[in-house]
């Protein structure tokens, strides 16, 4: 009864242990539709797309493809049914050739009695790559030699190699530069003209408005609303995503960029191969110093070098107040520095550890009594204090971090350092991929730390956030500081774009 729909989903439920990712989701995607799917992290959009693409199995509910029941065993089975997907994380295997990546799992079609015919495979790969508009990449190249963007294009080629009826794109464009984005937009246009469907998942609300003709909003695993072309607006979408009014200005209301004049952190002509050279900077008490630039501009690596994770080849990083030079993360932590890494799940928290253990890691040295004894009650006091202060939603301190939502995980990463009374904070994309509600809490926390006279380095790839929060901004391009300006100059995004592209 759903022939006219390409994909129909009825009452789809899916849960991972106690966390329920999707609850009674109903979706209809018709031919020629470019369906956008938005929602905060942990809202279930990636889960739904992986169900449709056969990566995971739904707990309950049915799915129909062109009217027939549809239950894919795995990704290859879904691809045979005409649904293919480009995953969010790295989907291309570096150690094998481009052609093997494109036809992974389906090499059987190119072999006679189990023996592979590499010539035929490479030729087919070249055709698909030319068809999607990337003739410079060849099938027999080794994937490891390609840069990050070309590897994503190989994944796109894999998805398009069976010219699917439905193409699912899961937050791929955020990592692509110009070349990749044009390829994606052409494909979407072509799918629309050929009366097929595209399922587009992205954080970039403006991009969605241009590309999609309908947008569905998901929150906490439940569908809130579906907007047509005319109903769409950024404010409405943001409101539906957060579920409550965003009152007042996100970022800091005040305009003054004043800060204390005592220098808390000083870098003198530091350089790390191959990322940056001769970077000098100072951060003052009560100042938010912003680092802006593209992801490969070297700003993230400067943050790591300031904290002592990567050894600096020239110059030095010093804490003038304590007169100490920073050469290792241990020295940094002992002298009151804090670092919140960009890759939250792999570098800032231990997913298999409990909330208490994650919070206490930098604090144990301070709590040690005679013979290294750490009193359990002191530990509990610190943990309860942090959970209360940041409002982490959890059963108790013993709950595992992997069961928390994205926002709560980030709160744990923050509270790790607040319990350690640090005075220099280095935050690398602290608000990336967390829901707006928690983002606002983070911004208020930064303001409060600024008032307490802490020095904060805010590294961010979102210009609005950078401009809204920083007292002073350093823009990075290809490992060099391309521009420095203060808050009082009130520069807008368009003024600074040419310094970072």
């Amino acid at each position: 009864m759903y022939e006219e729909n390409l994909i129909t989903a009825r009452k789809i439920c899916k849960s991972f242990g106690p966390t329920r990712a999707l609850i009674d989701v109903d979706i209809d995607i018709r031919r020629g539709e470019i369906r956008g799917l938005i929602g905060e992290n942990g809202s279930g959009k990636s889960t739904f797309s992986s169900l449709a693409a056969g990566l995971q199995k739904a707990d309950s509910g049915e799915m129909y493809l062109k009217g027939e029941p549809y239950d894919p065993k795995d990704m290859v089975d879904a691809q045979r049914h005409g649904i293919s997907m480009i995953v969010q994380e790295m989907g291309a295997i570096p150690g094998i050739t481009v052609a093997s990546n494109i036809f992974a799992g389906r090499l059987g079609e190119f072999s006679r009695f189990g023996i592979l015919n590499w010539k035929k495979i490479n030729k087919a790969a070249d055709d698909v790559l030319a068809d999607i508009g990337a003739p410079d990449i060849k099938g027999d190249m080794m994937t490891a030699t390609l840069n990050f963007e070309d590897r994503k294009i190989v994944e796109i080629a894999r998805a398009m190699s069976t010219n699917p009826d439905v193409l699912i794109i899961d937050e791929t464009t955020t990592a692509l530069a110009q070349k990749g984005r044009t390829i994606i937009y052409n494909l979407i246009r072509r799918m629309h003209e050929e009366d097929k469907a595209v399922f587009f998942i992205s954080h970039d609300l403006d991009e969605l408005m241009e590309v999609c003709n309908t947008i569905t909003v998901l929150r906490d695993g439940v569908i809130i609303d579906t907007l047509d072309q005319d109903e769409m607006s950024v404010e409405l979408m943001r409101k539906l995503m957060v579920g409550r009014e965003i009152n007042g200005e996100y970022y800091r209301a005040d305009k003054d960029g004043t800060h204390g004049d005592e220098v808390l952190l000083k870098a003198d002509r530091i350089s790390v191969r191959p990322w940056f050279e001769n970077i000098s900077l100072e951060v003052h008490a009560g100042e938010i110093l912003g680092f802006g630039g593209l992801s490969n501009s070297g700003m993230h690596e400067v943050g790591r070098a300031l904290f002592g994770i990567d050894k600096v080849l020239t110059g030095s990083v010093t804490l003038p107040r304590k007169g100490k030079e920073i050469t290792s993360p241990q020295a940094a932590v002992k002298n009151g520095m804090a670092y919140i890494p960009k890759d939250r799940d792999n570098e800032s928290i231990v997913l298999t550890g409990s909330i208490a253990n994650n919070i206490l890691v930098p604090v144990w040295d301070k709590l040690e009594k005679a013979a290294g004894f750490i009193r359990p009650d002191e530990e509990r006091k610190v943990v309860q204090e942090q959970i209360g202060k940041l409002g982490i939603k959890c059963r108790n301190g013993k709950q595992l971090v992997k069961e928390l939502s994205g926002g709560n995980k980030q709160k744990v990463a923050f509270s790790k350092w607040l319990g350690n009374d640090c005075d220099v904070f280095i935050m690398d994309c602290p608000t990336r991929g967390i829901d707006i509600g928690v983002k606002v809490d983070m911004y208020r926390l930064m303001e409060q730390l600024k008032k307490e006279g802490k020095a904060i380095i805010l590294i961010s790839e979102e210009l609005p956030e950078l401009l809204g929060m920083s007292d002073r901004v350093l823009l990075f391009k290809d490992g060099v500081i391309s521009k420095e300006f203060g808050r009082e100059e009130q520069l807008g995004e368009h003024d600074v774009i040419e310094y970072i592209i």
Binding site: P18, P329, A332, I349, G353, A371
Partner: protein
């Protein structure tokens, strides 16, 4: 449009959520209980098979004597396995430690205490050697400790062959004051209490678990990873040294097969006790001790059963597979190594 109002807080959904939470906690509790169930199963099965002989008066003392070495080594090993490390040199280094002690005693120019102390330093040196290979030479721990094991076994064989053809004995009666049940119980309790204190209440244990959970997070949160990894191996070396001392005085002599096979036995104890091989927060000393007890009672009981030599190890292997199969944490699913 097609999304009707479904809310998370609807009464029925809250019910489902509470039920899911309860199921998750139950599963966690069962996972922790299985090693104990394995232990009870082995004890009950063997008590029946041996007609109650397993816990007869003199067999209890035997079980203590036979399991003493493995429990001490298991307590030491829990610090290494907690941070995801491994050490195959345990057997050979214990043999070498015994050799050093015996040569010093026989030369009787050295007081007993000094001989024992130097003996303990040998496994400490070999375990720290494995740590340094892993930390500074970047050699993977698994293969690195196998290579070092080969070297140590070569050294042990050579040393033993050159001196008195592979067997050095000391007098049995002079050292009864060390090798008796009272002293052993005392030392066992002391090591377990010290181990438990260091593992649960000091930085050494806590930081070892965090390193086992995620080494990058530990490093970037200010933990001196190399120092605490080496601390773990030092504690293992000390425990192997203590075990070597008591095994030496129990046997009243050393040969080049002294301590051989302890490394594979140790891995069996860790796996049987439900101690996570990759370390992390779920590591608990009680699991390592439990594993050691299960293995030793299994060996003792099967011997008591007067089973034919041909099938004793077969049954031990089968029971090992069943218990490990049930108790191993299956979270890594298909991606298990």
């Amino acid at each position: 449009m097609d999304g009707k109002q479904v809310s998370r807080t609807s009464e029925e959904n809250v019910q489902i959520q509470k039920q899911l939470d309860k199921k998750a906690r139950q599963k966690e509790r069962i996972m922790n209980l299985i090693p104990y169930a394995g232990f009870v199963f082995v004890v009950v099965a063997l008590t029946i098979a041996t007609g109650g002989n397993l816990f007869s008066a003199n067999n209890l003392a035997n079980i203590l004597n036979q399991s003493f070495v493995m429990i001490i080594v298991a307590v030491g090993a829990s610090f290494v396995y907690a941070h995801g490390g491994m050490d195959f040199t345990v057997g050979a280094s214990m043999g070498l430690a015994e050799f050093v002690i015996v040569t010093m005693i026989l030369s009787d120019k050295v007081p007993l205490a000094a001989a024992l102390l130097t003996g303990v330093l040998v496994p400490v040196a070999s375990s720290v050697g494995v740590a340094c290979c892993a930390l500074y030479l970047k050699i993977p721990v698994f293969v690195g400790s196998l290579g070092l094991r080969m070297v140590l076994m070569g050294v042990l064989n050579m040393v033993m062959t050159n001196s008195a053809n592979g067997q050095l004995n000391i007098s049995y009666n002079d050292y009864r004051f060390i090798d008796n049940v009272a002293v052993k119980l005392l030392v066992l309790v002391a090591v377990i209490v010290a181990g438990y204190y260091l593992f649960e209440y000091t930085g050494i244990g806590k930081k070892a678990k965090i390193i086992g959970g995620n080494r990058t997070v530990a490093r970037e949160s200010g933990v001196n990873v190399s120092k605490y990894v080496i601390w773990g191996y030092v504690f293992l070396g000390v425990c192997v040294g203590i075990a070597g001392i008591f095994s030496l005085f129990r046997a009243a002599g050393v040969s080049n097969t002294s301590g051989s096979g302890t490394e594979f036995n140790l891995m069996t104890c860790i796996a049987l006790g439900g101690f996570p091989l990759k370390g992390g927060q779920r590591s608990r000393i009680i699991n390592a001790i439990l594993g050691a007890m299960t293995v030793c009672i299994l060996s003792n009981g099967l011997l008591l059963c007067n089973l034919d030599a041909n099938i004793i190890n077969g049954i031990k292997g089968l029971l090992f597979i069943v218990i490990v199969g049930l108790s191993y944490d299956r979270s890594s699913g298909k991606l298990v190594s």
